[in-house]
């Protein structure tokens, strides 16, 4: 278990080793976002302590983004392989999965029929 002080920037990073020879979870203390990687081994008692800390940390997820597309003919592309439609939305790039929606919708249509 290591705790990085963030190089004096105030907000550090916690590294949690889930179980011996298992996943490492990185937690950015500034954002409380988790990301998991690679295999490592460590002491289990420390692990459970940190697990408790992490489980109780605040986290943020996006429920809804409403944004309009830029009126520029080139500002969108629909990927043939992944089915993701990317479009320019002001200075951001929006990602949308139109096919996931249509599957959901046809499911509903069937249920009603």
């Amino acid at each position: 278990v290591k705790v990085d002080d963030g190089g004096g920037e105030g907000l550090g990073r916690i590294i949690l080793i889930d179980k011996p020879d298992s996943t490492i979870i990185f937690c950015d203390a500034a954002t409380a976002l988790f990301s998991a990687t690679t295999i490592f081994s460590a002491d289990t008692t420390e692990t459970s302590k940190l697990a408790q800390v992490l489980a109780s940390m605040a986290s943020v997820t996006t429920d809804y983004i409403s944004v309009g597309g830029n009126r520029h003919p080139g500002a969108a592309d629909w990927d043939v392989q992944s089915g993701v439609l990317a479009f320019g939305a002001d200075n951001n790039v929006a990602l949308w999965e139109p096919l996931v929606w249509s599957i959901e919708c046809s499911g509903i249509a069937l249920a009603i029929l």
Binding site: T31, I65, G88
Partner: protein, 756 residues
């Protein structure tokens, strides 16, 4: 929309997916008005997401076009500097992006569209690049090899179009035996031209019948001159193949059906249609097989009266069974092919603001969310619940206005007030159909009274929403029958959220009242919690105009005198939980608190002011949810949030929260949570952070900052917590926060485990 990628500093004008042929790594390549091209890599652990890995700089103008071609690591980009740049993006071992060539357009024009394709049959994968833009010709460049330095040379200039060419796309012709390429070019001259690129000598195509009445008068531009060139030791030729006509306005995009078995071309036009063109199997003539959108538009109709205002983009789904189109309002329309009935059926799409989102407010019980924007619309968002699923959608577009909208507040479940870049505020009433739709799909029940209005319509050339049938004699004492008779022909009661066509035509709320008094554009509005008083302010540079005007909601009259304290624009207004105090903050760095009179509850008088509340202008104000103590927060450009507590005869600053950039918005969770006030603060940078403030000591502690990767990228204009019943609040594990930003987005975040 499940993600917004942040990186560009100005509008994104072109987006293309790209797969590196050597490694199979997937990228997104985007160009922007900020003159850069950004390369985003698909994330291995989360394939739905992309992360910026490179920025290609060099263009000296807005990047307007990017072309990629299957099987090559060459990417072409065109910009408003009159050049096309050729890049190589290779992702073997490590990512390498290099500029390999710059082609200056001669005669000078700005490339608006590019199409790139590997030529069959040559050694070293020769490439063909078609370039067009602010000129009438299409220029064809060829490169000997895509493996070494490509060295693009101009080989042909295709003339024929009579206006700027907006779109180019290649496909392989499946009809012929030879592996010819077809190039579609679409222009502002309302025509699409198809060109055939074949290997070897030009085949003599059928001569154009000069007596054909359809082609009468257009003959001089129809030349089947063969343009021949050599690349990589092979001969190629380009000839004019077909003219596709039928559109009544500019054509913006062309796209070939990705299903290789189908030779279909999709075009999107400013005439509000998207068209699928097909070759008639018998005659070989290209005809428009299907047209979707508004085939016949009302004369004089505008987007305010529901006209689409042109389709800017048309795209095929990967399987060719769906098409989508982007309209003027920024919304995506979706059509799905019903193979049994062989018809294209419109499905609901997605929508959102196209200019700065300036306000978000929840209905008092959290039943729906209103957002208002500089794109001159107010939109209603709600959660569609079905089975075990739920998702957010736009359910109504209550206001389509002629002025940029600045602020909004709710007056109850069926009424709101908004202020725009005009001197008055407007009050709107919810129509019965919308209440019924919300109840059916979102489960939000409100007392549907008999006198709820029908949806509104905007008269052609009109400015404000009028209730339908307002001009007709009013049928009294016929509540239910009368309403049923005058209901619009198209019913909204479907089993899914409204389509864009319905949103823009049948979901307007009728205007109920106008509130006059201010001398300049409206800057802030707040409604008291008992919904009896509206406090408003306007842009101002003098004490005379920087006043707070109060309106009585029982008869909408202005309560005189107006409240004075500020000398510059008031940026935010807030009523305390019990409405006994009104707080105002402004650009003059001052905050002012007004107290409500016990005897006459419609009057307020100055109670306390602080002319130096912050060292820079104050942009946000909010009261903490308590009436035993009096506490409020102010947000300043001086990068701080200050917490003020009432003393005997003034308010003293108890806590200062230092943040990283100018603070533009603050909001308290409407109920205390486990002996803490939960405060959200939004900044100029787009950062949103959550803090807890102990109800006794007022000590502040940072809880979480939203990861910049999922946070807005421009100034936060307003924050609003979804109301939670006070009795449930302590048992909740998560809370919802609505965020409006100048980056045009309105978002809802779920914040879990706020306190452990």
């Amino acid at each position: 929309v499940y993600a917004l990628l942040v990186g560009h500093s100005d509008k994104v004008s072109v987006v293309r997916f790209y797969t590196c042929p050597a490694s199979g790594t997937k990228f997104l390549v985007t160009g922007s008005v900020d003159r850069t091209i950004k390369v985003w890599k698909q994330q291995e652990d989360d394939p739905r997401n992309y992360k910026q890995v490179a920025s290609l700089e060099g263009h000296e103008g807005s990047v307007n076009a990017i072309a990629v071609a299957e099987g090559t690591d060459i990417v072409a980009s065109g910009a408003a500097d009159g050049t096309v740049r050729i890049w190589r993006i290779r992702a073997q071992d490590e990512l390498k992006c290099e500029s390999v060539e710059t082609i200056t357009m001669k005669p000078r024009f700005f490339p608006l569209t590019l199409a790139l394709r590997v030529l069959e049959g040559g050694n070293g994968k020769p490439l063909v690049l078609a370039v067009a833009g602010t000129a009438t010709s299409v220029q064809i460049y060829a490169a000997e090899s895509s493996i070494d330095k490509p060295n693009f040379q101009r080989r042909a200039v295709l003339s024929g179009h009579e206006a700027w060419v907006r779109s180019l796309s290649f496909t392989q012709d499946i009809q012929g035996k030879t592996k010819d390429l077809l190039l579609a070019s679409a222009s502002q001259d309302k025509y699409i031209r198809l060109w055939r690129l074949c290997k070897g000598e030009a085949q003599v195509s059928a001569t154009i019948d000069e007596d054909d009445p359809l082609l009468g008068g257009m003959e001089p531009t129809l030349s089947n001159k063969a343009h021949e060139f050599k690349a990589a030791g092979s001969k190629y030729s380009i000839t004019f193949e077909a003219l596709l006509f039928g559109n009544e306005d500019w054509i913006y995009t062309t796209a070939w059906n990705p299903d290789p078995a189908k030779s279909q071309l999709l075009t999107a036009s400013a005439d509000n249609t998207i068209t699928i063109w097909e070759q008639d199997p018998a005659s070989g003539v290209w005809v428009s097989g299907e047209r979707m959108g508004e085939i016949s538009t009302q004369k004089g109709s505008t987007t305010a009266t529901g006209s689409a205002g042109g389709f800017w983009i048309g795209l095929w789904s990967p399987d060719g069974k769906q098409v989508v189109s982007l309209g003027r309002t920024g919304s995506w329309r979706v059509w799905q092919h019903d193979s049994e009935a062989d018809i294209w059926v419109q499905k609901f799409g997605i929508s959102g603001h196209v200019r700065s989102a300036n306000g978000v407010q929840w209905e008092p019980s959290g039943g729906y969310l209103l957002s208002t924007s500089a794109d001159q619309t107010t939109r209603l968002h709600a959660q569609w619940l079905r089975d075990d699923k739920s998702s957010w959608h736009e359910f109504s577009r209550p206001q389509i206005h002629g002025y940029d909208l600045n602020c909004i507040d709710t007056l109850g479940p069926g009424q709101f007030v908004s202020g725009a870049d005009e001197k008055l505020l407007r009050v709107f009433n919810e129509p019965k159909q919308i209440a019924e739709l919300l109840e059916k799909l979102t489960g939000f029940r409100q007392a549907i009274e008999g006198d709820m209005p029908d949806t509104a319509e905007i008269p052609v050339l009109g400015l404000s929403n009028k209730a339908q049938g307002d001009e007709a004699p009013v049928e009294e004492n016929e509540d239910s029958n009368g309403a049923a008779l005058s209901a619009p022909a198209t019913s909204l009661l479907t089993d899914s959220p409204p389509l864009e066509d319905q949103l823009s035509r049948y979901t307007l709320w009728p205007e109920h009242e106008k509130l006059y008094g201010h001398g300049y554009e409206i800057s802030a509005v707040a409604v008291s919690h008992d919904r009896t008083i509206i406090a408003t302010a306007c842009k101002a540079s003098s004490v005379d105009h920087a006043v707070i005007r109060l309106y009585d909601t029982s008869d909408w009259h202005e309560i005189k005198p107006s409240l004075t304290a500020h000398s510059l624009t008031i940026t935010d207004l807030s009523f305390s939980d019990d409405d006994k105090f009104l707080l105002s903050v402004g650009r003059d760095r001052q905050w002012a608190v007004f107290a409500r009179s016990e005897q006459d509850p419609t009057t307020f008088s100055s109670w306390s002011t602080n002319p130096k509340g912050h060292s820079r202008m104050i942009l946000g104000a909010a009261w903490a949810p308590t009436t035993t103590d009096r506490i409020f927060a102010t947000a300043g450009r001086d990068k701080s949030v200050k917490i003020w507590q009432k003393t005997d005869d003034a308010f003293a600053c108890k806590t200062t929260i230092a943040l990283t950039s100018a603070v533009s918005a603050v909001a308290f969770l409407p109920t205390p949570y486990k002996n803490n006030f939960i405060l959200a603060a939004g900044e100029d940078s787009g950062a949103v952070s959550i803090h807890k403030i102990a109800t006794d000591s007022l000590e502040a502690q940072h809880i979480v900052t939203i990861d910049p990767l999922i946070a807005p990228s421009k100034t936060i204009t307003q924050l609003s917590w979804r109301p939670v019943p006070a009795t449930e609040v302590d048992s909740r594990t998560h809370f919802e926060l609505a965020v409006a930003s100048e980056d045009t987005s309105a978002r809802i975040y779920a914040i879990s485990n706020i306190l452990s």
